[in-house]
């Protein structure tokens, strides 16, 4: 039974929609789990050096601003995931669209979130030297790029083998080698003030990891779900005259 082939726009729109949903869900989590830690960190910052009148009030930053930022970020990542899916789907050797979509989202979560996160864990306000922001931004982007290289190397290495055990081992080895080299070459920044509460730093970082994990998990599941609906809809029933 021939299926209608969805075009790039159809695949893309579903990615953008899944991204918006993922961004808003991640923002809800961030608002509930992350904002208390940001407020606590800002209280420490203000105690040290009061900043005076802010351009945007805290209430707007922590509410509408947070949802806007995370929603737009989700849309952008959803568009990128859908584009990667469109271009790479035929090269992913699986008969299942769900496996393909979730596999790409898991690869992105690993390369774009986990690898950079473990080298450069995010910092709350009051942590970080403004003088090194350019170096830290460049290093963070390099970590994202190297994270994607590590995932890509793992996929290529798996393809050199046939047995499932050998495939998994080759993938793990390639990933481990690339990440080890990357972490060794990338610069280290040691900027947490000695008197900053360790528990607050940990709690903030866990809430940030939760926000990003929820974003990518929801994006993968949402996109796979929308693709399944599309497949179900385009499954044209055979009508007899």
């Amino acid at each position: 039974m021939p299926l209608t082939t969805p075009g790039y726009p159809q695949l893309l729109l579903r990615g953008l929609l899944a991204g918006l949903i993922a961004g808003l869900l991640a923002a809800t989590f961030a608002y509930l789990a992350g904002e208390p830690h940001i407020d606590a960190a800002i209280a420490i910052e203000e105690a040290g050096a009061p900043e005076g009148d802010a351009l945007v009030s805290r209430d707007v930053q922590s509410g509408p601003g947070l949802f806007l930022a995370t929603g737009l970020y989700g849309i952008a990542l959803g568009g990128i995931l859908a584009t990667a899916y469109t271009v790479l789907r035929r090269r992913l050797h699986t008969g299942s669209d769900t496996t393909a979509a979730l596999g790409l989202a898991a690869a992105a979560l690993t390369g774009i979130v986990l690898v950079p996160y473990l080298k450069y864990p995010p910092n709350p306000p009051a942590v970080g030297d403004p003088a090194t922001i350019d170096q830290r931004t460049a290093a963070y982007l390099a970590a994202v790029a190297l994270g994607l290289v590590a995932v890509w190397a793992a996929a290529l290495a798996a393809r050199t083998q046939t047995h499932p055990w050998a495939r998994a081992t080759a993938a793990a080895a390639a990933f481990g080698v690339v990440v080890t080299i990357a972490y060794t070459l990338l610069p280290t920044f040691d900027e947490v003030p000695a008197d900053f509460p360790a528990t607050l730093l940990w709690d903030f970082r866990i809430s940030s990891l939760g926000t990003q994990t929820i974003l990518w998990t929801t994006l993968g599941l949402g996109y796979a779900g929308l693709l399944a609906r599309l497949a179900h809809r385009t499954e044209t029933p055979v009508t007899l005259p």
């Binding site: 802010a54 601003g65 930022a69 849309i75 963070y140 903030f204 693709l227």
Partner: protein
């Protein structure tokens, strides 16, 4: 329960790749606007940057 039905994706042509690259560029600009812009792209001074301050922290981007 409906059976899992795989979709056929469009053939990867030069035209598709060019469109995909162009759109990826737009999406990267949008991500840049959220994560890194300090007014150069948004032309709003520091307003959008400050508005999206908390999102940047919780999305793991180096902020300040």
């Amino acid at each position: 329960m409906p059976k899992a039905q795989a979709l056929t994706t469009p053939a990867v042509s030069t035209k598709l790749l060019a469109t995909a690259a162009g759109f990826t560029g737009i999406m990267l600009l949008l991500a840049y606007l959220v994560a890194f812009d300090q007014g150069a792209l948004s032309q709003s001074g520091m307003y959008l940057h400050e508005l999206m301050h908390d999102g940047r922290h919780l999305l793991g981007v180096p902020c300040h």
